[in-house]
Every structure is written in C-alpha cells, then in structure tokens.
Symmetry: C2
Subunit: 300 residues, 2 copies
C-alpha cells in the first residue's frame, strides 16, 4: 500500500483553518513525514498518526511554513520516550538551528537523530520495500522534491483461504511478505495458495515549492501520483513566477508532460478562502486532478 495523508495544505500563513505544509506517506507498514509546518504535531494527534512508526523525515526547504513545526515534534517525541533512531533529510543549515535550540533549552534528545544534509539528487533511502530519492526544484532558496517508489509491494492475502488451511492470524503479515507456512506436523502450505499476486509497484512524487519548469516533468516522469503545488489560480501567473510558485494551469501542464496517472494539488495561498476554482482550472488541462484536503488519505 502506498498512500499520502495531508496534514497541511496551505502556504505561508495559516488561514481558514488550513495549516502549513505537512504530509505523511504510508508505504506498507512504514510511515514517512514530508515537511513539517507549525502545528504538525497537533495535526498528527487529531488524525491519529502513529509517530512512533515514523523513522524518516524529509524537509524540502527552510521556509518556515515547511519546517517550523519540526523542532516541536522532535522534542515531543523525546518527551514521550522515543528511543529508536530518527533520520532527518534536510538542507544543511537546519542542523545548526536545531543544535542551537537544543543547547538553549539545555536538552538532549533520548534518541539518535541522524542528520542527512541534502546535497545531490539521488537515492536517500533504499530497503527491500522501497526507494526514496530527492530531486532539485526551482524555488527562491535551495529546495528539494522527493519520490517514493515501492519496490516489492505486499501480496494480497485471502484470509478465508488462510483460515481454511488453519494458518494462525499472527502469521498473516508474513504471508503478505511472500513466506510459505509450515504446520506443526511439517506440512508446507505454499504461499500462492493463500495470497494473490502483489499489485504493480506504485510511485509518488512530491514536487515541493517551485516555479514552473518543464524539467520537473522529466524528473517525475510517469509516477502514479504527483503532488504539485498550486499556490495561485491561473490569473496570477505573473505573481506566481515572481515568487517562484505555480498556478493551477502550470501544475496541470507538468502532470500532462510527465504522463502521471493522477495529480494532487495543494499549497494554496492564504488569499483564497474557497478552493473550488483550483480543481476546476487544473482539470481543464489534466482531468484526473484532486484538491489536497487536510485529514484525507489519498491512496496511490
């Protein structure tokens, strides 16, 4: 399973009960946090995100609406007794800011925070289930997008069949991973008897804050789901370009050029109270577009 849950869909200033950017990527049993605007830890509580399952956090850039909630989340994790390592991928200056904040508070985290400065495009995480990579986008300051690719999705369990073969529920997770089951008497139940073929591996790209640039279409080529910022409606293209942001039409055009399956739009300017026009405008160019809504999980 690959899915993205929106915790914040707004740009710079919180407004109309919309929060600054944060989203959680679910990849089978792993959770990944992408960006962490102010209030993200409260949004996590509200939407029951299990923060103990997050071992990797990705920060696209150091504008406040993408990371001011991070220090609060990391220290709260410490206060809640976290012990397992946490990997943080972010532009280099964040390390110094964070060190100063911990020093000023005379605080030491009870877990190991492993800081990976973003320096070049390429793979950040690779394990048997997924590969996560970063790519440069075009913002006023150093800014990165991220791509999540499943490598070997879990097989689909047929629970009735499994029960027929008297396989205990505690073994079901291992069945999804492709294991055979051995009964006490030594009989082997072949995995294919109780599971179906895994679905095709899925991919998700988060393009962060960026000016319009067709190069991005190459970088996110053919992903299943693309999240692209649409800070402004189409009529404010000049303002968008001056501020290194995109309009609905530009995001939809990137989706079209990249040949993605679906487009998710977000990072809305605080000047808009209603968001209906965003989806309408984007769909004129790329019909399979959804507006990112806070608290909603979009399955890839």
């Amino acid at each position: 399973m690959l899915a993205v849950t929106i915790l914040g869909n707004n740009s710079a200033i919180p407004a109309f009960d919309r929060h600054p950017t944060a989203q959680v990527i679910t990849l089978d049993d792993q959770l990944f946090l992408v960006d962490c605007g102010e209030g993200t830890q409260m949004q996590m509580s509200k939407y029951k995100i299990r923060r103990s399952r997050i071992n990797h956090i990705f920060i696209s850039h150091l504008h406040g609406d993408h990371y001011f909630g991070l220090i609060g989340l990391l220290t709260s994790m410490g206060l809640l007794g976290r012990q397992q390592d946490l990997n943080l991928y972010a532009p280099l200056p964040l390390r110094e800011i964070f060190d100063l904040q911990l020093k000023a508070a005379d605080t030491k985290l009870p877990y190991n925070l492993i800081f990976h400065p973003l320096q070049q495009e390429g793979t950040l995480v690779k394990n048997s289930r997924c590969e996560i990579s970063c790519f440069r986008v075009f913002h006023r300051i150093e800014c990165w997008g991220f791509i999540f690719r499943q490598i070997k999705p879990l097989r689909k369990l047929n629970p009735e069949k499994a029960r027929e073969y008297e396989i205990p529920a505690s073994f079901f997770d291992r069945l999804k991973w492709g294991e055979d089951y051995e009964t006490r008497s030594g009989t082997i139940i072949k995995n294919a008897l109780v599971t179906d073929e895994a679905p095709k591996p899925k991919s998700y790209a988060y393009s962060a804050d960026t000016a319009y640039n067709p190069v991005i279409a190459e970088k996110v080529k053919s992903v299943d789901l693309l999240y692209h910022e649409t800070t402004y409606l189409q009529d404010l293209e000049e303002r968008a370009s001056k501020r290194f942001h995109c309009t609905t039409a530009q995001a939809a055009s990137i989706a079209l050029q990249a040949g993605v399956r679906k487009l998710l739009i977000g990072h809305f300017s605080s000047k808009y109270e209603k968001l209906d026009d965003f989806e309408r405008e984007a769909r004129l160019i790329f019909p399979n577009t959804d507006t990112a809504v806070e608290g909603v999980t979009y399955r890839v």
Copy 2:
C-alpha cells in the same frame, strides 16, 4: 482595564486539545504577548486577538513550549505587511536562533524587530499608562517572570452625560484619558462632569516556570492577580521539585504568602486529562483560585 487572555494552558506536550503556554495581556488599548508556544498564531486567529496591537512580546525562557510558535508569528506578521516596530524581551540565545532562521529562509522582516535580552531584574517598559518589569524565577535554565502594573487607569466615561453636553463620540477616548472638552464656541466642559474617577491601578504577575521558592512571594507581593504554574497535583511534589516545577499546594502557598487578591493556575502536565482536582486542591489553601482555561479572559 487590565486583563489576561489564555491562549495556551498546557506544559511541554500539547494534549487533550490544550496548547503550550501563551497569554495576551490587555492593558487599556495596549496588548502584550507573554510566551508563545507552538500554534499561538492559530490560537490568536481562533480567539480574534488583533496582533497589530501587539508591540511588545515577552519570552520567559527557552524551553520549546514557551517559544516555538514565536518565529512563525513574527514571520506571519511580516507577510501580513506589518511595518511598526516590535519589541522582543527574551533570553539572549534567542537572537542567534532567530537570525539563523531568517538567514536560512533568505528573509528580511519588513518591520524593525528590537531585541532586548533579559539580563537583570527591573523595569522593561514604562510609559504613562503602565510599567512592566521582570524578575528571576527558579527553573532548570534561565527563566523570568513578568509584572504588569497600571500607572494611571482610564477614567470611567458616563456616555449619557457626555451626550447631554453634545460631546462627539470621537472624543470619548480622550475623555477617558482625562481631557476636558472645548466646544466650537470655546466653552470648556470639565472632564469631571462626564467621567468618574479612575479605578485603583491594577497589577498582574506571571511567574513563568519555576520550582517552589518563597522568594517569589516577595517578588510578586500584593499584586491583584498572580498567575502561578501548577504543573502537578500535590501528590507529585517530589517530581515537581526534581523538574523545577510546582504543585497546586505550592502555588497556593505562594499566593497566600504574597497576599495577592486572586490566583490563576496553569501549565498543566500532559499526564492529566481532567483539571478539576487542580482548582480543588489549590482552593484548600487559597480559596480565590481559578483554573486558566484557553480562550477565557480574566479581568484583573
């Protein structure tokens, strides 16, 4: 008028929809912000606090639950076009943290942020209406309390009388400040004809995060309203002392020793879902105690 509006009444970790510490002091037409935990700018929007009327912000200490929301508030003020000066009173290391964050974002605030490092006890602000001073408290790191004293409260306007004398409503504020009114024909309406004596000047003390120490009772002697932290109930006195915090009984005892008129308790540990016992325990020692509730304004 002197009043305090609670925006956050919780300690370290946000919990049960309670937020980290922040409060707004209203002193006639001036607003002052004391501490600024994560999410304070959202709380300000929720409770319709006019941030343009805030010209002075006080930060007691550099534990995150007292200042992680500040950088977001200050940059939002900038994005909303603030131009007037803003005075920030805080422990010195905050300046370096803040400078680094602005540099990382390649951002310059469009207004003048005047940083006043807290260094010694005494007066921070003094004008014709009020005096604001700071005092040291006893926490694990450098930590400050603040006292707000009215100097010359506004006179009480009698609007019927003022209308009888045909004084325009646009002059009412100046009447409250004690001015006489001169009609077009040169007749002087003496202020005392349309206003009543100002009430006695009021005072409010915020004691920040602190271990129990009777010295605090001397520092806040005889204020009208004392806000004192009660992170724990009485049975956790040992834990409170180890963590440089107070229990209900200790806060109430300080209020009693200081001879204050009223006690407001807050900064509750996230381990407590219900707060009823806090008020009950404190009132056994100091009956005129209220629990600080978010969104409520306590008039001094």
